[in-house]
């Protein structure tokens, strides 16, 4: 495959996930878009073939995260509220409106909770819950061991339980 095609293939496949990840991590929309530009510019310039990197998904998330940390222009708390209104990917046409609304409500509540976690936990929980990544992948995005990734997720979940009580987002 030509480098151009490799880049295109990866872009089409992962751009939505990367974008949502950047927003969930608390960065402004334009910052995330710039970050995505930088990541794919690097893919295109590096000349790396598909087979050169065993796990492109983890590679791209890690690259984007590094770019975003570099630019480190975080949302202010007020802007973060916009996240809930952001356009959502349409769910399967099979589900009816009522279900969609409920799914949206669940997602919004969870994202809001996740926002209140420390950066690393936020990242590992997001990757685990919303990107369905394995612990190995999370570990490689976070540049840590598999064990540390598991710890980060489990601590994040503990914290979520704590926060959800204090924020009263979920009623038991």
């Amino acid at each position: 495959m030509e480098q151009n095609e490799v880049t295109n293939y990866l872009y089409v496949k992962y751009v939505d996930e990367l974008y949502a990840f950047g927003l969930a991590m608390g960065y402004r929309k334009d910052v995330v878009m710039d970050g995505i530009h930088d990541v794919f510019f690097r893919v295109l310039s590096s000349g790396r073939k598909l087979e050169d990197i065993s796990n492109w998904k983890a590679y791209l998330f890690r690259a984007l995260n590094n770019r975003l940390i570099d630019s480190s222009r975080l949302f202010s708390n007020r802007e973060a509220a916009d996240l809930e209104d952001a356009d959502r990917v349409p769910v399967d046409p099979g589900t009816d409106n009522d279900d969609q609304e409920q799914a949206a409500a669940v997602a919004a509540k969870l994202l809001k909770l996740i926002q209140s976690l420390p950066y690393k936990q936020r990242m590992s929980l997001y990757l685990r819950f919303f990107c369905e990544m394995s612990y190995d992948d999370i570990a490689s995005v976070l540049s840590c061991s598999n064990h540390a990734a598991r710890m980060s997720v489990s601590k994040g979940i503990q914290n979520l339980r704590k926060y959800q009580k204090s924020l009263d987002l979920w009623q038991d």
Binding site: F41, L83, D87, Q102, V106, F130, W170
Partner: protein, 330 residues
């Protein structure tokens, strides 16, 4: 927060359980699989897949920018830069000005294409005209001349500063026109500085031979002798006897740009050799570093003024050709 219709969704533990992949060792795996339960599992899974998305136009835009950045990067390979540099410094932007009537002979009208030469900024360009006349142009100067010289007059048009070494052609005079001045010569070497702005000084400096300078609102042309400078400003002119070398600094050295990071000490050394004057600096300024491009203009005072703006220094001229650079407290 409003209660959701499906009771399972209001249970945070349930949501977390589904999110984590419905492990078998928790109470939820033992829950009877009612319709509500199945629905709740499906909704949480939907929620996991929900995410903000870029619209298609934004997606295309990012990819377009990626390609643009890539192309720009590739244009900056050494070969291309070399070519660019060559294109800039070796020659010129040549463009045909248009067809102008240069001369009329009897009933036969000949038209000659004019060529415009634009000297790149920051370096001195030289140009050999068809008749053997050699022209040095300072950066940014524009010279228009006919593609072919026909007949008695060789007429060119100048905007900026140029030095002419005019070839002697029997029976043909060489004319340089600008917005304000007209110079007619037979065979000579002279410098001419012009500007389209009426507020700026225009000048002609003769080095060798003789020239005739015509000015607006003046009936008679002024004849210059070697080492004479005519400067024209606000409809009046001044004729001075000068040392031509003082005015021709700009064409002495093609490398009239100081670039990169230099200390004041290095800059002083460079100015000394470039202008043939002595530039010394105080201890406390000699290690101040300046970066960027400093164009060494024809007059060293101009260059020092520029330097004064970028570095915390001031200068004094002792009158014996020594410039002293000192620390400026501001």
């Amino acid at each position: 927060m409003a209660r959701l219709k499906n009771r399972y969704l209001n249970d945070f533990d349930f949501v977390l359980w589904v999110m984590q992949g419905q492990g078998v060792d928790e109470k939820w795996s033992l829950e009877p699989k009612s319709d509500d339960f199945e629905e709740a599992v499906r909704i949480v899974k939907d929620a996991q897949r929900r995410r903000p998305a870029l619209n298609p136009e934004e997606k295309r835009m990012i990819m377009r920018r990626v390609r643009q950045s890539y192309q720009e990067r590739h244009l900056k390979t050494p070969v291309m830069q070399g070519l660019k540099y060559a294109a800039l410094s070796l020659v010129v932007v040549l463009c045909t000005l248009g067809i102008v009537k240069l001369m009329t002979r009897g009933s036969v009208e000949e038209t000659v294409a004019m060529v415009q030469f634009v000297a790149p900024e920051g370096c001195v360009s030289t140009l050999d005209l068809e008749d053997g006349t050699k022209v040095w142009l300072s950066g940014g100067t524009r010279l228009s001349y006919p593609e072919h010289f026909n007949g008695d007059d060789r007429k060119v048009n100048l905007v900026g500063e140029a030095f002419f070494d005019v070839a002697r052609v029997p029976g043909s005079s060489f004319m340089v026109e600008s917005d304000f001045l007209g110079v007619t010569v037979k065979g000579t070497r002279f410098n001419m500085k012009t500007s389209p702005k009426p507020t700026e000084t225009q000048s002609v400096l003769l080095v060798e031979g003789s020239v005739e300078v015509r000015m607006p609102m003046k009936e008679e042309a002024v004849i210059l002798h070697p080492s004479e400078l005519l400067s024209y400003h606000n409809s009046s002119y001044l004729k001075l006897e000068v040392n031509p070398d003082d005015y021709l600094g700009w064409m002495k050295d093609k490398d009239n740009v100081l670039s990169g990071v230099n200390t004041i000490h290095e800059i002083a050394a460079r100015l000394s050799s470039y202008y043939g004057i002595s530039v010394v600096c105080d201890r406390n300024v000699e290690n101040i570093r300046c970066s960027g491009r400093l164009i060494l203009s024809s007059n060293y005072l101009e260059t020092l003024e520029v330097l004064k703006c970028v570095a915390p220094i001031k200068y004094t001229d002792d009158g014996n050709g020594t410039i002293h650079l000192k620390y400026n407290i501001q």
